[in-house]
């Protein structure tokens, strides 16, 4: 989604009304319940949230000049900076070392990369369509955000084809996007 994303893709930039901010906050907590405790630090009540409307109906939300999350349709998706800040708040999957290179150039993640020895999938099932943070073998921090194309149980069973659609990864357009 952000493979080719530059400043020129931003159409408008507006401050978000406080009532909308409130709605945004509850929505975020609904989606990621573990964020509830940190939301006050993340988005203090008096902070100004800036909304960037971009090409392809992508909306970016920024607090303190840092893009924290964005949405394409309805769902709010955290940016990698946010995931790095609160790693425990998002569902996580792990890929093996061989896959890192391809992910960092924006490829979707194939099932074998998620089921091999160095990879890790959580024991409990994560439903299809969930946004997950992608980690890598031997690394501490997340390197991508993706959307499950199959539930994790299915990935384990089928073990073929695309497992995760990549949305945002390190060093892509959004990562390099800087607010002035």
């Amino acid at each position: 989604m952000f493979k080719k994303f530059t400043k020129d893709d931003v159409h408008t930039q507006t401050n978000v009304k406080s009532s909308v901010q409130r709605a945004l906050r509850t929505k975020l907590v609904n989606q990621y319940p573990k964020l509830e405790e940190s939301i006050k630090i993340l988005m203090p009540k008096k902070s100004t949230v800036v909304l960037y409307k971009c090409e392809d109906k992508i909306n970016l939300y920024a607090v303190n000049d840092e893009v924290l999350f964005y949405q394409k349709f309805d769902e709010l998706i955290p940016s990698l900076k946010l995931i790095h800040m609160y790693p425990s708040c998002f569902p996580r999957v792990q890929v093996d070392r061989g896959a890192i290179k391809f992910i960092l150039s924006g490829a979707n993640i194939m099932c074998p990369g998620l089921t091999s020895k160095g990879a890790k999938l959580p024991d409990e099932d994560i439903a299809k369509g969930t946004t997950v943070a992608v980690y890598a073998e031997g690394k501490e921090n997340a390197l991508a955000v993706g959307k499950l194309l199959m539930s994790t149980d299915e990935i384990k069973k089928v073990n073929k084809g695309m497992g995760i659609e990549l949305i945002h990864y390190l060093a892509d357009g959004l990562w390099n996007f800087e607010i002035e």
Binding site: I41, M85, P87, D96, R97, L104, G138, N141
Partner: protein, 183 residues
């Protein structure tokens, strides 16, 4: 209890978290930066034993080989671009308008990764004159500054280049002759 955010160390060269530098395109510069700025992390990352990996040795070698290739390519590319950039020169032109009035045109700036509009704004406020970005005859962008401020502009540009480490770039000062229009 509100949870404090985790602070991640980002590389000053490639902006990735430092552990991902090895997959970036500028590993050498990243290593240098980390060594200078965060020697402790540097030792942790690069001087400890080989990273644990579940992959077979051959796969591992393959990966590092392809990475090395990519990094070498990128290095060469940067070198080439830098050399090219150093041969470029900025042209500062003084164009006469009426009797004692001149405007200054600055062209050939776009290769240097500057925001023309912003620079024009800066000039305008610095010299308290009008400055704008317009297209010249070759349909290239240039900054037009009202008023005879050629030398100051030259000085400023030199400073700017120095900050970017491009000392060898030349700045050429041209004076355009007045066309005598007689009726």
């Amino acid at each position: 209890m509100a949870e404090e955010p985790v602070k991640v160390l980002y590389c000053g060269v490639c902006t990735l978290p430092v552990e991902y530098c090895e997959f970036g395109k500028t590993l050498k510069q990243c290593k240098k930066w980390l060594k200078e700025n965060h020697p402790k992390e540097y030792n942790n990352l690069y001087n400890s034993d080989a990273p644990t990996s579940s992959l077979s040795k051959e796969r591992e070698e393959e990966i590092s080989k392809s990475l090395a290739k990519m990094q070498l390519k990128e290095e060469r590319k940067q070198e080439r671009e830098l050399r090219k950039l150093k041969q470029e020169k900025i042209i500062v032109k003084r164009i006469p308008r009426t009797k004692h009035k001149n405007v200054i045109a600055v062209c050939n700036l776009e290769q240097f990764d500057v925001d023309m509009k912003k620079l024009a704004k800066k000039f305008a406020s610095k010299f308290a004159t009008g400055a704008s970005v317009s297209k010249n005859l070759e349909t290239k962008d240039e900054i037009i500054i009202q008023g005879d401020v050629g030398e100051e502009v030259e000085e400023y540009l030199q400073d700017m280049l120095k900050k970017k480490g491009l000392d060898s770039v030349k700045i050429e000062f041209i004076e355009e002759k007045r066309y005598l229009r007689r009726k």
